[in-house]
Symmetry: C2
Subunit: 198 residues, 2 copies
DNA sequence: AGCTTGACTGACTGATCAGTCAGTATCTAA
DNA sequence: TTAGATACTGACTGATCAGTCAGTCAAGCT
């Protein structure tokens, strides 16, 4: 990846995230990235191709972070791993704020509907997120820290909750960070196995 | 409200919901609504004014539904009222599917940032949703069916969960309706007061 | 030196779109 | 009946934008 290509990708990600895809013109991307407009079309075949490249790049980063989470995994029980997964997710969303905003834009879902490559990419990202929660719940059910419930469904709901917090932050509708402790507490109550297995 | 104006509003709501605001041209709105393009600008001062009118109309409908919910309120305890509120929200989102999709579009939040009237409208809708949950939680804490926790924060998280389910349905990422029972169960565990108050 | 190639440039184009406007039709009330 | 108001029309305009293309430039090879 040349430096030029990277700076186009970075500028486009920021603009698509903050202004939106259709609200951003290629001449703006060229201005912000400091690259001539023609150069963008030399590296990316179209505006949509540029969006796809941003999503592919995000997929790579998410999968890397995902693997790191498992490598450093060191939780005393599944319930604690769920808490770790929530913290991991929120940390990732904050570090990759602009990329998550692009991911949350409708345009990405619309592109996924008409472009199989994009759909595979979006699914990989989404599956990765849900997987973390599902693994943690599965482990918790094995070690007895989490109550019996369908792991996949609970993982989807968990992801929805945590991602909702990220959305609240994005839209600045509420001081979302102040909800973090509450969210953890509610998730614990939601999942914790209160019946002793001994 | 003339019949012409209504059909413009209806067509625009459907198009803005399914295709997006910037992806919909005024000539499409005119074609679908069966009204000349000039007529749209006779009734609405601009394309953004049309979006604002859709949101104002939604606000009216939501506030009406909200009042009806309270009128028919007949729950044995606060926890049951929370369940009723979740059912109410999902039913409303399904009946007003297209309007909710418009509400979920970034463009609505962006318009709210630059147009105070739009912001007041969006806040009224949002507050109304969170209020239902907050009232229910408050009642549950009074009657002892719901555990002690900050009602506003818990209401925000509840809304996030239920709205997340609506989003899953919109994006067709998962057979979301199959999550309904699970969601109810998790919310019950999350909020239920397990300590006897007697 | 001469040749090739990949990176890069920015002026240009055809298409699209929001919004305008001059004019027509329909209604209403005196 | 008619004058004025309100509702409606669709061709038109100026602006914007994605994408193109003819050509420059520098690095590497022979």
């Amino acid at each position: 990846m040349t430096r030029r290509k990277e700076s186009i990708l970075e500028a486009a990600a920021i603009l698509f995230a903050r202004k939106g895809f259709n609200e951003t013109s290629m001449s703006e991307v060229s201005k912000i990235s400091g690259v001539a407009q023609g150069t963008i079309f030399y590296h990316f075949k179209s505006k949509e191709g540029l969006l796809l490249a941003i999503l592919e790049d995000l997929k790579t980063r998410v999968l890397e972070a995902f693997e790191e989470f498992y490598r450093n995994e060191n939780f005393s029980c599944g319930l604690e791993m769920v808490e770790g997964a929530i913290a991991f997710y929120l940390d990732l969303a904050s570090r990759l704020e602009d990329r998550f905003m692009v991911l949350h834009r409708h345009i990405s879902y619309e592109l996924a509907l008409q472009n199989p490559g994009c759909r595979r990419c979006m699914e990989a990202i989404f599956d990765c997120f849900v997987d973390i929660f599902e693994q943690a719940i599965g482990q918790g059910q094995t070690d007895g820290s989490i109550v019996a419930l369908p792991p996949k469904k609970a993982a989807l709901i968990l992801h929805t909750m945590v991602d909702g917090l990220v959305r609240l932050e994005t839209y600045q509708l509420y001081e979302a960070s102040s909800l973090y402790e509450e969210l953890l507490e509610l998730c614990r109550r939601m999942l914790a196995n209160t019946v002793s297995t001994e």
